[in-house]
């Protein structure tokens, strides 16, 4: 265990833990758009910057990304000093110039007092802030269906050759983690479409409810040894099946007793 001071309060943390997870546990709200616990810290959005110092640093302070700064004993952290807020404001202002139409960015920027960007809005920009969560999560799942292409200001998230990604299984995780909800998909009938690729949704053989795609189920069966017939029923029908089974067991044991 290490002990550090955050906004004047002494808190305990586990060695090797990142600052952001400590502040989250303490209920301190720090914006962190490129962070998700499912993947390694990335340090791209820079919104989680905090001010750090130590008693022995002689008044010298540093600004670090909380999502990947490991806690240290004796660290003194300010999560919302005026300088930190100013840095966040500028970064949010820049993001607002990039995605002027994103409700999520607009709201976060407004929280830091930016309602209108001071910079040139980027012509025909989409709402992607290039946090890389979609590609990193997809990689973490083992599919690596999408990636970032290009560099610098022209970087975009795209499937290989911008065509329907052969390795995508339609699990939707990318769309789920996207902080600005950029990734579009559609479930219609028994068909799901994402990244311009169509998937069959498995319908529960009792009630027809759809949960995941056939491709995803097949991937789970082959990679994780989940029997394929597990996917034939939806969760609700599975529960019903279990209750019926339990009823049979009870009545069987009653009959056996009598």
């Amino acid at each position: 265990m290490v002990s550090l001071t955050i906004n004047g309060r002494v808190v305990q943390a586990n060695k090797g833990e990142m600052l952001l997870s400590v502040t989250r546990r303490e209920g301190i709200d720090i914006p962190a758009l490129c962070h998700h616990d499912a993947v390694e810290p990335f340090g791209a959005c820079r919104l989680c910057m905090v001010e750090i110092t130590k008693a022995e640093w002689d008044g010298w302070t540093n600004y670090v990304a909380a999502c990947l700064y490991p806690v240290e004993d004796g660290l003194i952290v300010q999560t919302h000093s005026s300088k930190v807020n100013e840095l966040r404001r500028t970064v949010l202002d820049l993001l607002l110039a990039r995605c002027p139409n994103s409700p999520e960015i607009r709201q976060l920027a407004a929280e830091y007092g930016v309602t209108q960007t001071a910079y040139e809005e980027i012509p025909d920009a989409d709402n992607c802030i290039l946090c890389g969560l979609c590609t990193r999560v997809c990689e973490r799942l083992g599919f690596k269906a999408i990636s970032t292409v290009g560099r610098g200001h022209d970087k975009v998230v795209a499937p290989p050759l911008k065509e329907a990604p052969p390795d995508c299984v339609g699990c939707l995780s990318c769309a789920q983690v996207c902080p600005t909800n950029v990734i579009q998909y559609e479930d219609e009938g028994n068909k799901r479409t994402i990244w311009n690729k169509s998937f069959e949704l498995i319908a529960c053989k009792e009630c027809g409810k759809q949960t995941i795609t056939r491709d995803f189920a097949e991937a789970l069966s082959s990679q994780r040894n989940i029997p394929e017939d597990y996917f034939e029923l939806c969760d609700e029908c599975h529960r019903r099946e279990l209750s019926v089974k339990m009823g049979s067991i009870v009545s069987w044991s009653r009959e056996a007793a009598s």
């Binding site: 810290p41 600004y63 990947l68 500028t90 820049l94 993001l95 610098g152």
Partner: protein
């Protein structure tokens, strides 16, 4: 043939030296990038042909050496006849026969090919007497231009691999680290981190294996020091790396070479093969129990790949994007293992330090920046080329004594050091000694050693725009402040250069720069606003002229200038009329011409062709 003992190496050195000096005269043809571009290969081929044809006594093709960059690129192709040091400039194929007939056969000097001192107008025969060379002190560049590009025997002849033998046989790894620490050697790749400290941290790291990596990415536009070393003296880098590996306990190393340097790759690979043959690489080097091998890794083709964490990712086969980590790469580097990363020039200094001692090295230069530093001197300076000067030499000495001053005697305006994210220093800083800390304090940086000299025809707003555009292009795009911030900073600079800027924009740019510097993830972003910050620091007036008066004092920013014909000077020669692609100039022969401002697109073609200085930039 394997060399087993230091004694064998010494014997081999004697043999090599004898062979090296077998000919009373030698011809060195510079085959560095500058000279090659000017036709050096043809000159060399012709020399070989003529030598074979003439069958001179005591002189064969073996006496001709194709060397690495001799330095004085501006005067190339260069041919040097040693040992006299007779220095022929701008040599053409048609000069070859005469060189052989006169200089080699009759020891006569060809006056017309000699260098003329622009100050005195005198011809100088021996290159060592030319101020460009006389003021230099070559340590890292010691062999370049003196030996064939890729010949281990010649490297051994000039004391190559003696330092390695000394380290392996007479010194412990700790002794080696101590010697490097004593030398005060600081990294030549940019940040100037003390090499000894880096090595010692790595050596002490528990995790294994350890790696050593050489950074040969050299992404700064206009810089070619590392290229010259890798192509012209690859063995010095390899020897430096083996010594480093011995010191930090590494058995594997990588040389990461910029994608655009295919010859460097070829020469390094050749050199590695030669070193293997002699048993200087591989298992049990010089019969010790130390083993080390080195691989050449081709660069990922982006500027940011030169950044340490991006470089290590690129070597590991991943996308070369910087990784944010607050654990230093010397502890968790390549494959998350302890790694020493140094620049090409840093390694090239190591054998000399081991050979002559850290004290010898630290006596050169200044107290905190020891040794010498290589620069590629380019821009509006008379003598462009590759130089190496003791640390602490002033900018004025470099630009005026070595560089020969500004071309066409125009006024000096600024010197840009440290590559694209370095800074510009004005005339008032010319007497600053060049060392790591002084340059940083003055708002520029040492960088890897690019030095661009600018005259009064350079507009600093335009310059900042140029470097910002480069950085916007080269940003990997991972983090927001660099990707979006530099883009906006560039946009604001463009607006100023087009007369659309306001004074409030300057404040905005300064504030934005501050955020980019503090919050970017890697060094590219952190130093990205420098082209703006250093120019605004020293040339605020010029920015204000663009903003308030809508004028570009240097006459560069197209939107703010117009070309006019000076009726006093124009003699109606019609040269400009032919040159103008827009047909914007009218006038009859021997009558004063006029420029139609609406049609003119300000390309400057007229200005370039007018022999009478009659085109005015207003």
């Amino acid at each position: 043939m394997r060399i087993e003992t230091p004694q064998q190496l010494t014997r081999l050195r004697k043999d090599c030296l004898a062979r090296f000096n077998r000919h009373p005269q030698k011809i060195h043809v510079c085959c560095g990038p500058g000279c090659l571009a000017n036709g050096a290969q043809k000159v060399s081929d012709e020399l070989k042909k003529v030598i074979k044809k003439k069958r001179l006594k005591g002189f064969s093709v073996d006496a001709l050496k194709e060397t690495g960059c001799h330095g004085f690129c501006e005067q190339g192709p260069l041919v040097v006849v040693e040992p006299a040091g007779t220095f022929y400039t701008r040599v053409k194929v048609k000069d070859v026969e005469e060189i052989i007939d006169k200089t080699i056969r009759r020891k006569e000097v060809l006056e017309r090919l000699l260098f003329t001192d622009p100050q005195t107008g005198e011809k100088i025969e021996n290159y060592r007497d030319i101020p460009f060379y006389a003021r230099q002190q070559r340590i890292a560049l010691r062999n370049i231009g003196q030996i064939s590009q890729c010949d281990i025997d010649e490297y051994i002849a000039v004391d190559g691999y003696q330092a390695l033998a000394k380290a392996l046989k007479k010194m412990s790894p700790q002794d080696v680290i101590d010697e490097v620490t004593t030398s005060g050697l600081r990294g030549r790749g940019g940040a100037g981190f003390p090499a000894g400290r880096k090595w010692s941290t790595c050596a002490r790291a528990d995790d294994s294996p350890h790696y050593v990596i050489c950074n040969g990415d050299e992404g700064d536009p206009g810089a070619f020091m590392d290229r010259a070393i890798m192509e012209g003296d690859p063995h010095s880098v390899i020897e430096g790396m083996i010594i480093a590996a011995y010191a930090v306990g590494a058995h594997e190393g990588y040389i990461y070479v910029r994608e655009e340097y295919p010859l460097a790759v070829v020469n390094l690979q050749k050199a590695i093969e030669q070193a293997h043959e002699y048993g200087l690489l591989g298992d049990g080097i010089l019969s010790s129990d130390f083993s080390f091998d080195v691989h050449v890794s081709r660069g990922g083709g982006a500027f940011v790949c030169g950044e340490s964490s991006a470089l290590m990712k690129s070597i590991a086969g991943e996308v070369g994007e910087p990784r944010a980590k607050y654990v230093r790469s010397v502890l968790k580097g390549l494959h998350d293992k302890p790694t020493v990363l140094n620049n090409v020039e840093s390694y090239a200094n190591v054998p000399v330090i081991i050979d002559k001692g850290g004290k010898w090295f630290s006596a050169i230069g200044t107290k905190k920046s020891t040794g010498a530093k290589a620069f590629s001197l380019v821009g509006k300076v008379r003598n462009t080329g590759l130089i190496e000067v003791p640390m602490g030499t002033t900018l004025r000495e470099i630009i005026y004594d070595i560089g020969g001053g500004i071309q066409n005697d125009r006024p000096f305006k600024a010197v840009q050091t440290g590559g694209p994210s370095g800074g510009c220093l004005p005339e008032s800083k010319l007497d600053l000694p060049v060392d790591f800390d002084t340059l940083t304090e003055a708002g520029s940086m040492m960088g890897s050693g690019g030095m661009i000299v600018l005259d009064d025809h350079t507009c600093v707003v335009d310059l900042a725009k140029y470097f910002l555009a480069f950085l916007v292009d080269e940003s990997c795009g991972k983090c927001v402040p660099c990707r979006e911030g530099l883009y906006q900073l560039y946009g604001l600079a463009v607006a100023i250069s087009e007369g659309r800027g306001t004074e409030a924009d300057l404040d905005k740019m300064e504030k934005l720069s501050d955020t980019i510097v503090i919050s970017s993830l890697c060094g590219l972003g952190k130093s990205g606003p420098n082209p703006f910050l250093s120019t605004i620091r020293y040339f605020r007036d010029e920015y204000l002229a663009h903003i308030r008066d809508k004028k570009c004092p240097a006459g560069v920013c197209r939107e703010l200038i117009r070309y006019e014909v000076d009726p006093q000077k124009c003699d109606g020669c019609m040269a400009c009329i032919t040159a103008c692609a827009q047909n914007a100039i009218t006038g009859k022969k021997k009558e004063v011409h006029t420029i139609d401002q609406d049609a003119c697109d300000k390309c400057g073609a007229c200005l370039a062709v007018c022999k009478r200085d009659a085109i005015l930039v207003l």
